[in-house]
Amino acid sequence: MPNMSVSERPDRSLAWNLHVELASRISAVRLGPDEGLLSEALSSLYQVFTEARRALAEHPPERSLTSDSLHQVVFRLLNDGLRPFLAKWHPLLDAHLERRPPGSSQFDHEREWDQAGQLRAELADLQVLLRDATERLAELAGAGSLLVEVR
């Protein structure tokens, strides 16, 4: 139905908003071993939560929810995908950052962390899962996927 505007298709609009979030954040693109700040990667993933919450609230389901309705897909993405990762790593990273000595930059301090490699490995696993969800959301939005094949 190409001529219907998005406002007439609330599900499409919800799926699109989340697709845009996931495709444009660290959820979509590999983080090289020596790149980025871990704290910023985590806060970018938190932003997905914030945006998803807003989008869900603005797009109430038109029919009662079934297990494969879009809203349930989004709830699972948040609660089974993002939440366990963030719940595990946010406090651990915070605790490490608390121990940063004066004069040491955040980048250097993160690099000295003995769990940084593990966090990066688990992030890479999560990205595989999130990229699948991102593709699925593009289909539900009726849009071409914005995921870019990178490196």
Binding site: P2, S5, V6, R12, S13, W16, N17, V20, E21, A23, S24, A28, V29, L31, G32, D34, E35, G36, L37, G103, S104, S105, Q106, F107, D108, A138, A141, G142, A143, G144, S145, L146, L147, V148, V150
Partner: protein
Amino acid sequence: MGKRTRQFRPREVGVKLKLPFVGEISGSWTPHQAEAKAAWELYVELATRISVVKLRRDEGLAREALSSLYTLFGTTREILRKYGPEVSPRESADAITFGKLALTVLNVAVRPLLARWHPRLGSWEATRSDGVAPIDHENEWEHIEDLRAEIESVRVALLQVAELLANVSGAAPLTPDSRLLGDLGKERGGVVA
């Protein structure tokens, strides 16, 4: 600026861009109206930012250029949300669309620059002593010339993208017109002021 009364007519635009890291993107783009509107908004963003203004030594901080480039993520997301799935039409899975172009620019040209340099520059900034001006400290960094060179290559790429967006939005003639981007356009042709 007067009210635009022109009718929107989709027209095919040939695309040939050289982006850092990806190499060349080429293909054709027949933008829908939503894409043309989104293209104009992103064009305005690019044309008015430090991201397309050449950064000369002692004139601006590399840090500011990085921060300016970072804001493109938020702005692009906002534009994509505003115009909806129509900016990434499915029927043209192999063709260029606004959505695909915008995300390629972000994830493939801008993101690697920021991912590599933002933390490293931050490390250097942490060593600045009181009483030393940020710009002087930045210019003392052993890697500053490498960083500036990489910012420059992203800037040149964004300039090409801006020109393309102007064409697609109907704001520019199909042949490049240096008046459109003013001095920025001229510079790209090799006339560095």
